[in-house]
């Protein structure tokens, strides 16, 4: 199964990378840009065991490695759950 995860900075956290990209786009003539926020996108292929709580396991992966819970939020997209 392929699980998709979005890790983004919390709204309250400044995004210097996003600001830099915004300036770059404005410089290239894309004048309509208001704001750019940049995050990480993970596609994880994994085997699902019988009775496994997949969402709980994926949350643990995010909390332990994929995201920094202090400054980042994460969103888990499990296909057949339609979340």
């Amino acid at each position: 199964m392929k699980v998709k995860i979005h890790v983004t900075l919390k709204k309250s956290v400044l995004d210097p990378q996003g600001e830099a990209v915004k300036k770059g786009l404005l410089t290239l003539g894309f004048a309509e840009i208001d704001q750019v926020r940049i995050g990480k996108y993970f596609e994880i292929d994994l085997k699902v065991m019988k009775g496994q709580n997949l969402r709980e396991d994926i949350s643990k992966m995010c909390e332990k490695l994929l995201a920094n819970p202090v400054i980042e939020d994460y969103e888990i997209d499990i296909p057949q759950e339609g979340s």
Copy 2:
């Protein structure tokens, strides 16, 4: 309007970051991981001008700055288009 863009490495391109994260997850005991692919995720807030071809403009942004067309693919998600 908020447009969402996913920039990912082409399937044929090796993903050393993804491999490193995979090893990390396996070390943490998440044995069911087969593969991890990592990409960039952009949320762009912008004003839409009357008659503007938004998808074309966003593609230009990707081609010029957000993605490296040689090794990366990009996917544009424009809300009301339901793409």
